[in-house]
């Protein structure tokens, strides 16, 4: 059995990942309203960004669409930001837990979004979410 062939590749991966981590690869972006809005408009064709609610940890945000009843979630992916549309078709349910809002979506890759909101969820957002999908809990 050639141990070099078996152990070499995973050790190689580990070494590269450690070098990336040591050279700033663990940076995290912190969202602000301008960034979240811009990213939603860039990522979602036809989206017209309106109100924006930034999570307390700056890792995710909700953005409403001025042109339709949909909303967008913008979220940090390490040093990058991604946004996706949450329409009536996508949203399975939502609930406000202590300290965060949880959106469950119909998506194999990313089925749940948790948005840190220590102060609860403001009424306009509660209404918007209610029109998109069933609320599965209350704060």
């Amino acid at each position: 059995m050639n141990w070099l062939l078996i152990l070499g590749p995973p050790i190689g991966v580990l070494v590269v990942v450690l070098i990336v981590a040591a050279t700033g690869g663990t940076r995290r972006v912190r969202l602000d309203a301008a960034l979240a809005r811009r990213r939603a408009v860039e990522d979602i064709p036809g989206f017209v960004a309106d109100d924006c609610l930034i999570g307390d940890d700056g890792a995710s945000a909700l953005i409403s669409d001025r042109s339709s009843p949909t909303i967008a979630v913008a979220y940090a992916m390490g040093a990058r930001v991604a946004a996706r549309k949450i329409s009536r078709r996508d949203l399975r349910s939502w609930r406000a837990e202590t300290g965060c809002l949880v959106l469950e979506v119909d998506d194999f890759a990313h089925a749940e979004f948790r948005i840190a909101l220590a102060d609860g969820l403001a009424e306009p957002w509660r209404l918007r979410l209610s029109t998109l999908g069933p609320a599965g809990g209350s704060p």
Binding site: V16, V20, R84, F108
Partner: protein
């Protein structure tokens, strides 16, 4: 004639170049690399290599079988290397275009585009399901023409090794004559971008001339920086989810289809297709962008 496996020989160089690019990005203060993103890409690359071994026997057997029906005995003459270089690259272009324009093959290829970073590790974010999507059968055409299977495999390896170094932002532009003929980092950045004007463009492997010939070439515009990833970014660094998410989505969509035709379109139609016309296909995204541009122009 025994030919080496270019990919196996190049792996140590791949690793060294990734480390070199990481250090280059660090010195320049660029966030080109992200730990989890790099780990995901490298694990995908390892998985692809391992699965290639597992599946290789079937491809070798199919090539040997097809070789019985070859039209010519081309052998390993010098001009055979030139001819296979050109023809393999032409097949690669159509394989790659097919992989973007039809969801069944997109499901096998999408993982390569899921990183929002564009660096040398992205090149290794390779498919785990490509062989199961039977795209390798396209290369049997070369065997049927009469190229030795070993020569075809060698050229496929050369193409893969070539395409490694173009996954970088470290090189902006190469001399114009190179940019005119070859696929370069600039051309391939466009291919990985989701900006509407860049979407589904520059499918080339080694020679960019195929895109110019078939009308899919778009040059990189410095006024419009590339945004990398996929139209609907997947939001995960989990290699299993990266490898299988589109297959899972296809299965879910087909289960909800209201007719056979809709089911077939959801599998083989363009990615993003929806029966009610609401889906975000590349064509529709481009139309949205055109409308926005028109509106902006009218307002100004």
């Amino acid at each position: 004639m025994t030919l080496p496996d270019p990919v196996r020989l190049a792996i140590p160089i791949f690793v060294l170049l990734i480390v070199a690019e990481t250090l280059w990005a660090w010195r320049r203060g660029r966030d080109a690399y992200e730990t989890r993103d790099t780990a995901a890409s490298l694990v995908m690359g390892l998985g692809n290599f391992g699965l290639g071994f597992a599946y290789g026997g079937i491809i070798v057997a199919a090539s040997a079988w097809a070789s019985q029906f070859r039209l010519f005995d081309i052998g390993f003459a010098w001009w055979a290397f030139v001819a296979v270089f050109l023809l393999e690259d032409l097949i690669y272009y159509w394989f790659h275009r097919l992989s973007h324009e039809h969801r069944f093959w997109w499901a096998a290829h999408v993982n390569h585009h899921t990183s929002q970073h564009y660096n040398l590790s992205t090149a290794l974010r390779q498919t785990w399901t490509g062989n199961l999507a039977f795209t390798w059968t396209l290369w049997l055409v070369l065997v049927l023409v009469g190229f030795p299977p070993a020569l075809v495999a060698f050229q496929k390896g050369i193409s893969l090794v070539y395409q490694f170094w173009i996954h970088t932002e470290a090189i902006r532009r190469l001399p114009p004559w190179i940019e005119a003929i070859f696929n370069t980092p600039s051309h391939h950045r466009v291919h990985h971008a989701t900006n509407p004007r860049y979407l589904d463009r520059n499918y080339a492997g080694i020679l960019i001339v195929w895109d110019k010939l078939f009308g899919t070439f778009v040059p990189e515009d410095d006024r419009e920086p590339c945004r990398y990833g996929v139209v609907k970014n997947i939001g995960t660094f989990n290699p299993l989810r990266i490898a299988f998410h589109e297959w899972a989505d296809i299965a879910k969509d087909v289960a909800r289809a209201k007719s056979w035709r809709e089911g077939l379109m959801l599998v083989f139609g363009p990615p993003g297709w929806r029966a009610d016309g609401s889906g975000l296909t590349s064509a529709r995204i481009r139309a949205f962008a055109r409308e926005n541009d028109d509106r902006r122009n009218a307002a100004s």
